[in-house]
C-alpha cells in the first residue's frame, strides 16, 4: 500500500542542512521508516515523528554545514549591538530611528544593483554568502560586484539625500525650531547609508576570501 509523503517543509529543511554526501541515504532512510510506521500510526503521529527526526538531525549538522551563515549572522548582530550601545550612550536610541531615511537609500540602491547586475546574480550572491560556498572565480567576481554596487549605491544615495536635505534647510535657516530636527534626519540618512556600506563591504570581502584557492575558469 502506498502511503502519504513526508512533510515537504521538513524534507526541504534537511536538504538544506545535510552535507551533500549524506543527503540521499539519510533522506531515503527517513522516507523508508516513514512509510513503515504509517501501518500502525495515525498520519499526525507520523508527521510528528518525521518532524522530530528532522529537527534533531538538523541540530546535529547545522553547525557543520551552516558555519558561514552562523558567523555572518553573528558578526552582523555584534555590529548591531555595538551600534545600539553607542546610540544609548549618546542619549537614547529612539532619536536614531527614522524609517523614511532608510526608505530613500536602501530600496533605490537595490534597484540600481538589480539594474547593473541581474536578479540571478543578486540571488546567487546572497546564496554564496549564506552557504559559505563558491564554485568558480566568475561566481566570486559577480557576487562581490553585487555587494560592491549595493554598498556604493547606498552610500552615494545617502550623501546625495543628505545634501538635498541641507539645501532645504538652508532655505529655512531662520526657523531654528525646524532646522534642528531636519538636520538630524538628513544626517541620519547618511548614517544608515554608511551602515549598509559597511555590511556590504564585509560581505564582499567574505566572498573574495571564499574564492581564494580556486583555479582560474577555463575560457
Amino acid at each position: 500500500m502506498k502511503n502519504g509523503s513526508p512533510p515537504r517543509i521538513a524534507e526541504a529543511l534537511l536538504e538544506k542542512v545535510l552535507p551533500g554526501d549524506l543527503r540521499e541515504p539519510l533522506l531515503g532512510d527517513l522516507e523508508e521508516e516513514y512509510q513503515q510506521i504509517q501501518i500502525n500510526r495515525s498520519k499526525q503521529a507520523c508527521q510528528i515523528w518525521y518532524w522530530r527526526q528532522a529537527l534533531l538531525t538538523s541540530f546535529h549538522f547545522f553547525n557543520q554545514t551552516q558555519k558561514a551563515l552562523i558567523m555572518f549572522a553573528f558578526s552582523v548582530l555584534f555590529f548591531a549591538a555595538l551600534t545600539i550601545f553607542a546610540m544609548e550612550l549618546s542619549g537614547g536610541s529612539s532619536m536614531f530611528f527614522d524609517v523614511p531615511s532608510l526608505i530613500i537609500t536602501l530600496p533605490p540602491a537595490l534597484v540600481f544593483t538589480l539594474a547593473v547586475t541581474s536578479p540571478g546574480n543578486v540571488k546567487q550572491a546572497f546564496s554564496c554568502l549564506f552557504s559559505g560556498h563558491v564554485d568558480s572565480l566568475r561566481q566570486v567576481k559577480s557576487s562581490a560586484m553585487v555587494f560592491n554596487v549595493l554598498g556604493n549605491s547606498c552610500l552615494w544615495l545617502g550623501a546625495l539625500m543628505t545634501l538635498l536635505g541641507w539645501v532645504a534647510m538652508g532655505s529655512h535657516i531662520e526657523d531654528v525650531a525646524v532646522f534642528g530636527p531636519a538636520f538630524a534626519v538628513s544626517v541620519l540618512t547618511l548614517l544608515y547609508a554608511m551602515g549598509v556600506k559597511l555590511v556590504c563591504y564585509v560581505a564582499a570581502q567574505r566572498i573574495i576570501y571564499l574564492g581564494q584557492g580556486l583555479s582560474p575558469d577555463p575560457d
Partner: protein
Amino acid sequence: MGKSRFLGEFEQFVLLAILRLGEQAYGTTIRQILLDVIQRDVSIGALYTTLTRLEDKGLIRSAMGEATAKRGGRAKKFFEITAEGKQALQETRQSLDAMWRDVKLTFVGVK
C-alpha cells in the same frame, strides 16, 4: 604494533549492530536493531554523525546501493566493518573485561 584505540559506548553499539546485520547494515536497520536490542531510540542524525566518525577513523567502510521506489528513489548507504574496526572492538572488550575482573558490585539492601 599499532596504537590501541578505545571505543566509546555508542561506537561499540553501532559497530556491533553492523556486525550483526552483515550485508543489510544501513541507517534504518541499524537504528531498528539498536531500538530492538538495547531499547535505544537514537535520531537518524546522531547515528549518521557516529557512522561518519567511524568511517573517518577507518573502522568501517561504506558503499552506495541501488535506488528503490519505497525510499523515494533514493539509494541506501551500506556499511561494513573493517579489520581495524574488528580489532578496535576486540581491544575495547579485552580492556573492559580486564577492568571488571575481581570487581564485585554491592548494593545497599540487595543480597
